[in-house]
C-alpha cells in the first residue's frame, strides 16, 4: 500500500470525509493512470460507471460536436454517482494537459464491499452524501427561477412537471 496514494486520495471528496483507515482500505481498490495530451479517457456513449479524480494535468470534456465544454482540473472529481448508478457519458473526456488520474470503478467498489464491508459502507455513504449539496442547489435554483406562477407557464407539459405532486 502506498502512503502517497492514501495521502493523494484523502485530498479528494468523498475520501476526505472518511477516517484515514477507510481511505487506506479503499486505496487498495483504486487504479492510478498516467494520461498524455490527446489521450481519450472515455468516449461519449461509453458506460459511465467510474469515479475519476484528477491528480494532475487536465481533462477536457468535449461534446460530440467537437466543442470543448468544460475542463476538469487537479483536485476535481468526475462521476461520483457512476459506481452506484451507471449511466452513459454525454461527452468525451480527453487529456488536455499531461498528468495522472485515480479511478474507482463500480466493479472495484463491489470488490471493496466483498472484502472490507465497513470501508465500503463509509465510502458509499460519503459518495451518496456528496450528491446532496448538488440536489439541494438544483432544487433551490428551480424554486428561485420560477418567478412567475406555474399557472401562467404556457407549455402544458412543463406546467404539469412543475406542479406540486398530489
Amino acid at each position: 500500500m502506498s502512503q502517497n496514494l492514501v495521502a493523494a486520495l484523502a485530498r479528494f471528496r468523498p475520501f476526505s470525509e472518511l477516517p484515514l483507515r477507510a481511505v487506506a482500505d479503499a486505496s487498495r481498490f483504486v487504479s492510478v493512470q498516467r494520461m498524455d495530451v490527446g489521450d481519450t479517457i472515455f468516449n461519449a456513449g461509453d458506460v459511465a460507471d467510474t469515479l475519476i479524480l484528477i491528480v494532475s494535468g487536465e481533462l477536457r470534456l468535449v461534446a460530440p460536436s467537437g466543442r470543448a465544454v468544460d475542463t476538469v482540473r487537479p483536485g476535481e472529481t468526475l462521476g461520483v454517482t457512476g459506481p452506484m448508478l451507471p449511466s452513459r457519458y454525454t461527452m468525451s473526456g480527453i487529456c488536455g494537459d499531461e498528468g495522472a488520474l485515480i479511478s474507482l470503478s463500480a466493479e472495484a467498489l463491489n470488490t471493496l464491499w466483498e472484502q472490507i464491508p465497513p470501508a465500503a459502507a463509509l465510502l458509499e455513504m460519503a459518495m451518496a452524501a456528496s450528491v446532496v449539496p448538488e440536489l439541494r442547489e438544483a432544487t433551490e435554483a428551480l424554486g428561485a427561477r420560477l418567478t412567475t406562477p406555474i399557472e401562467s407557464v404556457r407549455h402544458p407539459r412543463l406546467r404539469r412537471a412543475l406542479a406540486p405532486r398530489r
Binding site: T81, M84, L85, S87, W113, P117, P118, A120, A121, E124, M125, M127, A128, A129, V131, V132, E134, L135, R136, A138, T139, A141, L142, G143, R145, L146, V153, H155, R157, L158, A161, L162, P164, R165, R166
Partner: protein, 172 residues
C-alpha cells in the same frame, strides 16, 4: 448473496415496528435536524416549505408506498421541508445509526438498502437537472422542441421510476 436475495425473510423495513399517526401529526419541521428516513405504509403525508414571504407552500404529497427524508439518512442536517400527516398514516422510521450498525455488521441487506437510497437520490438529482433545463429553455424562449427535449429526459425517469430502487423494500 445477491442484493435482493432474502428480502422477504429479513427485510428490516417489513419487520420494523409501524407507528400510527393521526391527521395533523407532524413528522418533522423545516429547519429541524434530521437523521431519519420515513416510509409511508398507509395514509398520506404532505411536504411543505416556507417561502421568503413566510407563506407555507405544498411541495409534494407522499402516498402509501412512498418515502421521505432520504437526504437526512445519508447526510444528517436541517430538514428542507416540513412533513405533516394529511390522512391517518402508518409509517416506518429508518434511523441512520441503525443503518450504519447494520452496514458495519456486514449485513448484505443493509448494503442493498444503502445502494437503493443512493440511487433514489441520484435519480432525483437527474430529474431536478432535467426540469431546470426545461425551465431554462422555456425562459430563454428556445421553443417547444427544446423544452420538450429536456422534458423527454425528465419523463424517462418518471416519479414512479425514481422510487424503483426502493420498491423491493417497501411494505405492501
Amino acid at each position: 448473496m445477491s442484493d435482493q436475495e432474502g428480502l422477504t425473510e429479513h427485510n428490516f423495513l417489513i419487520d420494523a415496528p409501524r407507528e400510527r399517526l393521526a391527521v395533523g401529526s407532524s413528522l418533522f419541521e423545516e429547519g429541524e435536524h434530521g437523521e431519519e428516513l420515513f416510509v409511508v405504509v398507509k395514509g398520506r403525508v404532505l411536504l411543505s416549505r416556507r417561502t421568503q414571504a413566510g407563506e407555507n407552500v405544498a411541495v409534494a404529497t407522499i402516498q402509501a408506498g412512498g418515502v421521505l427524508g432520504e437526504i437526512a439518512l445519508l447526510q444528517p442536517g436541517p430538514r428542507s421541508a416540513s412533513a405533516i400527516v394529511t390522512e391517518d398514516a402508518e409509517i416506518v422510521r429508518v434511523h441512520r445509526r441503525m443503518l450504519l450498525e447494520r452496514l458495519i455488521g456486514r449485513d448484505p441487506l443493509a448494503r442493498a438498502f444503502l445502494r437503493a437510497c443512493a440511487q433514489l437520490l441520484i435519480l432525483r438529482l437527474r430529474r431536478a437537472r432535467d426540469l431546470a433545463g426545461a425551465l431554462g429553455a422555456y425562459e430563454r424562449g428556445e421553443g417547444d422542441a427544446a423544452v420538450s427535449a429536456w422534458l423527454d429526459r425528465y419523463d424517462a425517469v418518471g416519479d414512479a421510476l425514481v422510487l424503483d430502487p426502493l420498491k423491493p423494500w417497501l411494505p405492501r
